[in-house]
């Protein structure tokens, strides 16, 4: 019913849906945020650690550093466990068992972040408070909860990419007398690398973009963390916490926070896609 050309043209238009959505979102966030940045000064906004909207001080350095540390912490928790789990399930577990565990883990990606956050508040924070001191609602709590939250993303996509490595690679290596582990770490992981990196990028995106769970467990204090036990506020939390009550300059400053988040994410993705492309070319 469609002509071949017509279909192709329609698809080529639709293919731009994601990028036009991105452009539209960027446009609206920038319209609200850029005028503030120019007025207030980009340097003051980014590098000052004084966030006192009531007296017209808008420095988001503490939030930038908090977002960075929370994300790094989450990666330290989530990536090793996630990748180890993916390798174990894909290579050392009987197929039938893997086909039960993998869907179960994917299911957990759909557990609402508010539930993770809630468990962070009622289970994790009191433990941290009692064992290490501090308010409990802290950078550490945020990193652990986010690390757990990104596990399903990392595991699921890594498994797919490991399984996508052609069986002939594996058989060849095994036939040459290599053990499964030698095959895995010398061959399979390298062949599946771009998928594994993609899984980590998605995990990072999730960690830096997560809002509700972070608001619940990090305590949201505006300070540059001195230790993992300090309470911190991420960029996302800054927006979500204050947006509802913000007016005037304060509201614009929160949109400017959104602009910063946006740019950070574009930057992250630029690095990531360069890494992946290089991999494809050298292969």
């Amino acid at each position: 019913m469609f002509s071949e050309k017509g279909v192709e043209r329609l698809l080529s238009v639709i293919a731009f849906s994601a990028i036009s959505a991105l452009a539209l979102i960027a446009l609206f966030i920038f319209i609200e945020g850029i005028p503030f940045l120019l007025k207030y000064g980009i340097k003051d906004f980014l590098l000052s650690s004084d966030w006192r909207p009531e007296s017209g001080k808008f420095g988001i350095y503490p939030m930038i550093s908090a977002s960075f540390w929370v994300m790094l912490g989450a990666m330290l928790v989530g990536a090793p466990f996630g990748i180890a789990g993916a390798i174990f399930l894909a290579e050392f577990t009987p197929k039938t068992v893997m086909h039960i565990i993998k869907p179960a883990i994917e299911l957990l990606a759909a557990v609402p972040s508010v539930i993770y956050g809630f468990i962070g508040v009622v289970v994790l924070a009191p433990i941290i408070r009692e064992v290490f001191g501090g308010p409990g609602l802290s950078l550490l709590a945020g990193a652990i909860i986010l690390g757990i939250m990104i596990l399903p993303t990392v595991i699921s996509i890594s498994i797919d990419s490991i399984l996508a490595v052609p069986a002939s690679f594996r058989e060849g290596s095994l036939a040459l007398g290599a053990t499964i582990w030698q095959t895995v770490h010398m061959l399979t992981i390298k062949a599946a690398k771009s998928g594994i990196i993609a899984s980590i990028i998605l995990g990072m995106g999730r960690a830096i973009g997560e809002t509700m769970a972070v608001i619940m467990v990090t305590g949201n204090a505006v300070m540059i963390p001195n230790s993992a036990l300090d309470s911190v506020r991420t960029l996302t939390a800054n927006i979500a916490l204050e947006m509802s009550y913000a007016t005037g300059m304060h509201r614009e400053a929160l949109f400017a926070t959104g602009v910063v988040l946006f740019i950070v994410i574009i930057f992250l993705n630029a690095i990531a896609s360069v890494v992946i492309r290089k991999k494809v070319i050298t292969k």
Binding site: G85, L107, A110, I208, N269
Partner: protein, 278 residues
């Protein structure tokens, strides 16, 4: 000293296995924690009566309705867009600057924090388009949010279909579009369905976007332009404001069960499909 590859393997497997066990244990703990406290609250009455006193007592009927409507609307909008995009990327173009741009845009959209989708939805759908806090605003905002998930997963799935299949189809004189419809998509379907399921999952679990765009009304919606509340939002408000822990756990348990049902249905469909094909 060189350790024998056999022992290295035993060591590696032990470490990997322990990490896996730990991961699975944490995840199981979370499910059990919620279900243990929530299941006793769950009943036919809880699910199908109206809440009263801001949800302190009564059930979650309107919330149940909202939790179904929002993800359904989001999928209706996002799934065709996402699947067409991935078909285009894999089947209709060669790697070029344009595909890289599209892929980069998709990656970026995937990384955009949900709070920003919420802000955007609030300015664009709620205010500028005048839809108010409504199922429509919420569904459309969620659709944008899950679009990258669907594109990425479908793209992987379509790419995973062996080249030989396409070559056979072309050699039999099929056009590109016929090949996509008759050969590529059927073979990629399990992966595509997984992407859609992940999308449904993301919309059910999302809280920030929904609060900003669909509001948090507790009334039963009578049109797509009424405000509503999903179970995730209801749980957040009940638990965080300390309104009723009992109802909060009940809501959390229903939420997790809903997610279970959606996913298991999808997996069942996928397996039936594979079985039929063979």
């Amino acid at each position: 000293m060189r350790v024998s590859p056999k022992y290295t393997q035993i060591g590696a497997v032990t470490i990997l296995g322990a990490a896996t066990a730990f991961t699975v244990a944490i995840l199981i703990f979370i499910i059990i924690f919620v279900l243990e406290k929530g299941l006793p609250v769950l009943s036919f009455n809880f699910l199908f009566t109206n809440p009263s006193d801001m949800g302190r007592s009564g059930g979650i009927l309107p919330i149940l309705i909202g939790t179904v409507l929002l993800p359904v609307l989001a999928i209706i909008v996002a799934a065709p867009l996402g699947i067409c995009t991935s078909v285009y990327l894999v089947e209709f173009t060669l790697e070029s600057r344009v595909t890289r741009l599209i892929r980069f845009g998709t990656d970026c959209l995937a990384g955009v924090p949900s709070i920003i989708f919420g802000l955007f939805g609030f300015i664009f759908f709620v205010t500028i388009l005048g839809m108010g806090w409504s199922i429509m605003s919420g569904g459309l905002s969620l659709a944008l949010m899950i679009l990258p998930t669907i594109i990425r997963t479908s793209e992987e799935a379509i790419r995973a279909v062996p080249k030989a299949y396409r070559e056979v189809s072309f050699s039999l004189g099929a056009s590109r579009w016929q090949t996509v419809r008759k050969v590529v998509l059927p073979n990629a379907l399990p992966g595509v369905v997984t992407g859609v399921v992940l999308g449904i999952g993301r919309s059910i679990e999302e809280t920030a976007v929904v609060i900003f765009t669909a509001g948090s009304s507790l009334l039963i919606p009578t049109s797509l332009f009424d405000s509503t509340r999903t179970m995730a939002v209801h749980f957040y408000i009940l638990a965080r404001e300390g309104l009723s822990m009992e109802n909060a756990y009940g809501t959390a348990a229903s939420l997790i069960i809903a997610v279970l049902i959606v996913n298991l249905t999808a997996y069942w469909m996928m397996h039936r499909f594979i079985a039929k094909r063979n």
